[in-house]
Amino acid sequence: MIMDNKIGLIVMIETDVLVIGAGPAGSTAAKHAALGGAKVILVEKKSEIGAPKRCAEGVSKEGLKLLGIEPDPRWAVKEIDGIRLVAPNGTDVWLNDEIKLPEAGYILERKVFDKFMAMDAGRAGADIKIKTLAKGMRKEGSGYVVTCETMGELFEIKAKIIIAADGPESHVGRWAGIKTGTKAKNMESGVQFEMCNVEMEDPDVLEFYFGSLAPGGYAWIFPKGNDIANVGLAVIATETDKTAYQYLLDFVDNCPATKNAKAVELNIGGDPVGGMIKQMSDDNVLVVGDAAGQVNPLTGGGIISGMTCGMFAGKVAAEAITEKDYSAKRLSAYDKKCQEELGSKLNKYLKVKDYLSSLSDSELDSIADAFQNVEFEEISTTELIKKLIKVSPKALLKLGKLF
């Protein structure tokens, strides 16, 4: 028993590093902190890590490789070898050579993937506390004391370093005085059906649909099998009076691929697309993943970037524990590493996202028309943007200096 309710004694557990949230970023941070020799506890409020999913489940092969993760057919359920971009009037652009787009490569089964990543953390030595909610924290001595609740009982965990990996809710950073909350204009409201009977043009290709069918975002069809796909979209709620769900119902009704499709699952969730927060660490605290805005603003993809920064956080935390220095100055090595690896890339993509969101449906249609005659040397986000700048004088004006 963790707490004796009758006499009100709250048990306190001590650890070096407490990771709050067992999403991909948190599990990766826990794994690397444990591999670095720190005593680690990973807490997750849900009863099943990875479920329900809040994700279209696309990741790049390159990203997994850089993280040293071998794709496993139990969670890498579909290999992707192309993309199809669809303009509001239906004009499409096909790119199916070697894929370098951040979200292309594999479609995951997140319910399995997230669990496997947590298992990796467990095998590396992290203690995992499932169905355990972090409720608040206070500074005490050389660390923080976090109040947790599990199965109706309260207990406390005292840790020298807290890694806040609590996803788009991002409470923990704010408890520590770090500005992690997301402004409504930077939060994409995502909603998705997993469907069967989807009649895709090519079941190995990711489809992206742009324009007023998803204000501030886009719609997608990400295949998970020959007739199975994640069909979803994201909108910026402040740009419309309709809910994301209403947009999805319209999309499914109107898209030829989903006319006969049947939903077997509904997923929803927020995706912070405003870029990485300026300060990601402080005395005794590191913030990782969605909680720190480590998401590609253009695509909304945050699995690989969150895990990459999770790895940096875990490593920095373990080093800080060895050196017995948990100061903001020591932990700022984490901010530096994230900025070096991701900072300028995410900033550029944020500008491209803002630009694309400003285009009308007819402007998007003309870009798709102009793309018909373009030869792509390589399929990467940067290459796409470079070509966009070539075909659109407005893009040249807005983005020319960046790429």
Binding site: P168, E169, S170, H171, S189, T243, Y245, G270
Partner: protein, 54 residues
């Protein structure tokens, strides 16, 4: 705040709450109504219209 029975506890409301007042348990949302300034950003952002002002 009234939480409709179709709420899926995705937590988007908590992320956009400017005062960090919404606790998201696995199947319960807890609002700190006393501190709430009724900005209704949480209501606006819910992807499935599951929140309503009291």
């Amino acid at each position: 705040m009234i939480v409709k029975e179709w709420c899926m506890y995705c937590g988007e409301c908590a992320g956009v709450c400017p005062r960090n007042l919404i606790e998201v348990k696995e199947t319960v949302l807890v609002f700190d109504d006393e501190q709430c300034k009724e900005c209704e950003i949480c209501v606006k952002c819910c992807p499935i219209d599951a929140l309503e002002k009291n």
